[in-house]
Amino acid sequence: MSDNFERFANCAVEVLSVDADQVVLEATFESLDADSLDLVELVMALEEEFDVNVEEEELDGILTVQGAYDLILSKI
């Protein structure tokens, strides 16, 4: 597992209150019981962790851990 994904997963574990082994690329946020507010909170934590900036419209259509992780990776 890459160092970046570990940092990503740590944020998800903390913000979404899920277990680390639930945070896998194919997981949907729905399956993690995360609503839109959770997603916003997660993105804010990720912005801080990776020192990146995510615009509101970029979140459209992000439904999975893979989607969110790719979005963050594309910015660092």
């Binding site: 609503d35 507010l37 909170e41 804010m44």
Partner: protein, 235 residues
């Protein structure tokens, strides 16, 4: 249960009475003020804050979080007036009042709500005004800002309901504070004529309602606007 309470504009009037009431009930209370001067503030944790400045809000809340812990109860009370008839009111008079009274409340709420989300518990009470319900000649800017608070509060109430955060509004009528002392005797008398209970309210009477809305008991109350005005707004 002792909570961390933040009262903006807490150095006098309704804000100070509210801070004192929470303090007496055993809560940890911080108040913000543009200037640190004021009497009776010795026992309160006073932080300098200009609610029209995002960085100032951030610095003030950070200081409170470090000293007392995350804010669990916000009383958004800071407000100013720049009275005048519309024809004599310039853009600055209007926008400055909106920026302090309405956008200021938004800035503080946005800053503290994140921690309330984490805690899955929070109470926000905005101090509006009876003039936000009925309008007031000479106070178009103030009335607009206070009416806007209702829309802001109810939107927050809906956005954060899923996190067990309630957001409510109190709408005081004429209360015996410095803000009202600025009125002429004739203006005061005219106002009292319209109050069925025939007297000014005391800041402590507003504080009591705010404490209720922020209490555990008020957990099913959200998005409400509670007039406390001696009957002035009932029509």
């Amino acid at each position: 249960m002792s909570r961390v309470v933040l009262v903006t504009g807490g150095n006098r009037g309704i804000g100070l009475a509210t801070a004192e009431r929470f303090q007496t009930s055993g809560h940890k209370v911080a108040v913000t003020a543009r200037s640190k001067v004021g009497e009776g503030l010795e026992d309160l944790f006073v932080v300098k804050c200009d609610v029209t400045d995002k960085d100032s809000v951030d610095a003030a809340v950070t200081e409170i979080e470090e000293s007392l812990g995350p804010v669990e109860i916000l009383v958004s009370n800071a407000g100013i007036t720049r009275d005048g008839l519309v024809l004599r009111m310039n853009d600055g008079d209007f926008s400055e009042v909106l920026d302090a009274n309405l956008t200021g409340g938004f800035r503080v709420a946005r800053r503290v709500v994140k921690q309330m989300m984490r805690a899955r518990w929070g109470r926000i009470v905005f101090v509006s005004s009876v003039v936000g319900l009925g309008g007031q000649a000479g106070q178009a800017n103030y009335a607009a800002s206070k009416a806007g608070i209702t829309g802001l509060a109810r939107s927050l109430a809906k956005e954060f309901a899923g996190r067990n955060i309630t957001v409510n509004v109190v709408a005081p009528g004429p209360i015996d504070t410095d803000m009202l002392a600025a009125l002429s005797d004739a203006q005061r008398d005219a106002m009292l004529d319209m109050v069925p209970l025939g007297r000014l309210g005391a800041p402590q009477e507003i504080a009591a309602a705010i404490e209720y809305l922020a209490s555990e008991d008020a957990g099913f109350v959200t998005g409400t606007v509670l007039p406390i005005d001696g009957g002035l707004s009932m029509g």
